[in-house]
């Protein structure tokens, strides 16, 4: 162990509910156990030893006044902690300069970066140079994935030796001893129900609405409610209109989707972990993220996770976690979790052998269509048994024109023109609260039309035996 030091940690802190606060208190516990003399400074009253409004130049200068009393300054960095929103270019640069002063005055500064806007590194003066200078005044920068590190180095051109990757969950400890059965009893979840869980702060970029849409698709395929359930658990991080509106929309979506429940409210660390333990699959359909504490906490309990491939999640995700690219991938991954056999059947291997004998392209094509339809949940439930592959393939042809329309995706905020990316990111951030729900709604309508068309078409198709040969004969009869 290193020599005991006087350490000042700057962070949001319990009992305030915040992912960074939960992270900070676990690191505080570790530092104290190592024998250090730790004091915590939080932006508002909390269990921290001190509190100080850290926003803007004034906050950073107030911090600068204090840091000389300590051997080490540890900062859990999130821009919202220090920068006014919105802030002018001058104000932003001044805050960066004042923060840089605080970091330089400290005997040793260690910053754990939980979020930062990479585009700031190449932003025009005075914003960009001030941010870079501030970051260069830090002795040790810690990020949580190698992807973040590369992006960070590329964006801010920092001495690589100063930027380290630390295990996001390195200080994490379990908050519950309950097993799955106990956790389910506590939460009132039946033992035999497949439980999907999306948990964390409820805000548009977390994409929990995508999980609800995916669950609706499962239900349409007979794999969702009532044999499965989706619980969305968390609270709105800040009571801003767009976040509250997002929650309202989630509630509306849930109300229209059997088996989905929104548990909006305060979640203790212990309750958070109990939800994880009770879950069969943790669904993290983030639209954007740096790294995820939920991923780490799920790993603490060996809970399977499906997440979108955004930010540094590919690096952070433990072995076995499923990363998906889009909403269809999400549906497929959830489907595979809830019914592995069906998924394999839909995907191919366990669906039985492909048509044998002399190559019959039509039969193979029908099989492909049938398997594709099953994979996206288009197999209708019928009293008289499933339609043949040929009949199903024929039926799903009807929806083909709609399925050919690609899901709506907002253009990425990038540009080859200098400065344009930064501008686009700003525009994206400013408009996301309005546009994301519209995009989600359009795509939901799209999926609903496809599902409805498939179902109507399949139901109007006469049912015959399950073999491709029968299907072929049926087709001949039909024609």
């Amino acid at each position: 162990m290193s020599e005991p030091q006087r350490i000042l940690m700057v962070a949001p802190y319990p009992p305030h509910r915040d992912g960074i606060a939960a992270y900070a208190v676990q690191e505080a516990s570790r530092l104290l156990r190592e024998g250090h003399q730790l004091e915590v400074l939080s932006p508002g009253p909390s269990a921290a030893h001190h509190h100080l409004d850290l926003k803007g130049t004034r906050g950073a200068l107030a911090l600068a006044k204090r840091v000389r009393r300590y051997d080490r300054l540890v900062v859990q960095f999130h821009p919202d902690l220090f920068y006014e929103v919105p802030s002018s270019a001058g104000g932003h640069a001044a805050t960066s300069a004042a923060l840089g002063l605080a970091f330089r005055l400290a005997r040793s500064t260690e910053v754990r970066v939980h979020e930062i806007d990479y585009t700031l590194g190449r932003a025009p003066a005075p914003v960009g140079p001030a941010v870079v200078a501030m970051l260069r005044s830090i002795d040790r920068l810690v990020v949580h994935t190698e992807v973040e590190r590369r992006a960070f180095l590329d964006a801010f051109r920092i001495d690589p030796h100063r930027v380290e990757v630390a295990d996001h969950g390195g200080s994490f400890v379990r908050r519950t001893n309950l097993d799955r059965a106990g956790a389910r009893r506590r939460l009132g979840i039946a033992e035999d129900v497949f439980s999907f869980l999306s948990i964390g702060f409820i805000q548009p970029h977390k994409g929990f609405d995508r999980a609800v849409e995916a669950f609706a698709a499962l239900t349409a395929a007979g794999l969702g409610s009532p044999r499965a359930r989706l619980d969305v658990v968390g609270s709105v991080r800040v009571e801003e209109p767009d976040y509250v509106a997002h929650l309202d929309r989630l509630r509306e979506l849930a109300a229209a989707t059997p088996g989905v429940t929104i548990h909006s409210g305060y979640v203790s660390d212990e309750l958070f972990d109990i939800w994880l333990v009770a879950a069969d699959l943790v669904v993290l359909p983030y639209r954007r993220i740096w790294s995820s504490s939920v991923l780490e906490r799920a790993a603490l309990y060996d809970r399977p996770v499906v997440a979108t491939r955004v930010g540094g999640l590919a690096d952070q995700a433990p072995a076995g976690a499923v990363l998906v690219e889009d909403d269809e991938g999400l549906v497929a991954a959830m489907r595979a979790a809830v019914e592995p056999e069906a998924a394999r059947s839909a995907g191919g291997a366990a669906a039985g052998p492909w048509p044998s004998g002399p190559l019959d392209r039509e039969r193979v094509q029908a099989e492909i269509r049938a398997r594709g339809a099953a994979a996206r949940g288009a197999v209708p439930r019928r009293e008289d048994g499933p339609p043949s592959a040929r009949a199903l393939a024929s039926a799903v042809e009807v929806s083909a024109p709609v399925r050919r329309i690609a899901p709506l995706v907002l253009p990425p905020p990038v540009s080859a023109r200098p400065g344009a990316s930064a501008l686009k990111r700003v525009v994206h951030r400013l408009t996301a609260w309005q546009l994301d729900p519209v995009v989600a709604q359009v795509n939901a309508l799209h999926r609903a039309i496809v599902a409805m068309t498939d179902t109507l078409a399949a139901e109007s198709t006469p049912q015959r035996g399950g073999s491709a040969a029968d299907g072929h004969a049926e087709t001949q009869e039909a024609t």
């Binding site: 104290l32 156990r33 009253p45 269990a47 030893h49 519950t176 305060y266 203790s268």
Partner: protein, 397 residues
Amino acid sequence: MARPTRSGRLGFVPPRFGPAVVGGAEAVQAEIARTLADRGWEVEILTTCARDHFTWENVFPPGVSRDGDLTVRRFPAVVDTPRAERAALEARLLAGERLTLGEQQRWMNDDMRVPELFHHLLLHAEEYRALIFTPYLFWTTFACGQIAPERTVLWACVHDEPQAALELFRPLFTGAAGAWFQSEPEHELAHDLGLATGHHRVVGCGMHVPDGYDPEGWRRRHGIEGRLLYYAGRREGGKGWERLLDGFARATAAADLPFTLVTTGTGTVAPPPGLPGRVIDLGIVSDDERNDVMAAADAYLQPSRHEAFSRTIMEAWLAGTPVIANAASDVVRWHCERSGAGLLYDDDAELEQCLRFVADEPAAAAALAKPGREYVLDNYAWPEFVDRIEECLEAWV
């Protein structure tokens, strides 16, 4: 029950502890702690250096000390904000507004906090078999009770008040290893609020039976003659004190009542005009003194609508004194109806009639109190109460 193992250290975490600390929850916790220590448990008190729950001035020295068989660890209470935001949010809450989660968090944190206690438990919670917190409303319980929830037991003191419905508190209850309730109404309320989902039990509360009473000696010592009514505890709006004074003043004026109202405890008395010499404040008194006043009184008044148990009405019944209580308290109404030893009022007019009855029919009023003593002895004897506490500890943690 199986013989208790009494192994492991118990940590009691009241916001205040020590001489001259007035508060039902704090007093009971101290007494339970002492009894458990007597029975062989290793018991620590983890608390603040404060005595007053308004100023939270640190009057006791921080650090470790001994109080009989108890180890007492004190940590400085911190109040470093004007608490203006809390007051504003609380006003909105009491007016029936819904606070957002963020506002609830600011309401909770803009008050007395004890960071050093938080960090002590962050490092040492595992050294305790159980950590017993009371009451639910205080920062010490809210913030520290969630550090090691598997060891947390709540002496909840849930009242039917807007704060109890704040979603902020739900995980504290649902995550705790267990919760004790003192009455069926408190238990039902906890269920209604979704706070009784884990281990919990109605353990009641324990009462020590005084060896005897000396009302005449007390009168002589204080030079107080004539018929009197008594109120003991915190003299504050939340306990219905101000409303009681108004009602007493109206009743006295209307009915020419013969009573003097004697009060003991903390807080400002401030009787309204029209009651010259009719209200006597004795401040903080010993348990024996309190018992003697109970026995000297024609009736004990319980104006609070927020009671989790109400020890004072039990003390009155043990002393053979009838109780006149605010019917708005489910708990007190429950006790009065079950025991048959208390009168209830819903408004000033009914309070006046209660007082008229006691004034006009002293013998009947005294007879009214008789089943009260039996009620306390049958249900709330101290040793059996502590047995129930031990059973829970052995089972839950």
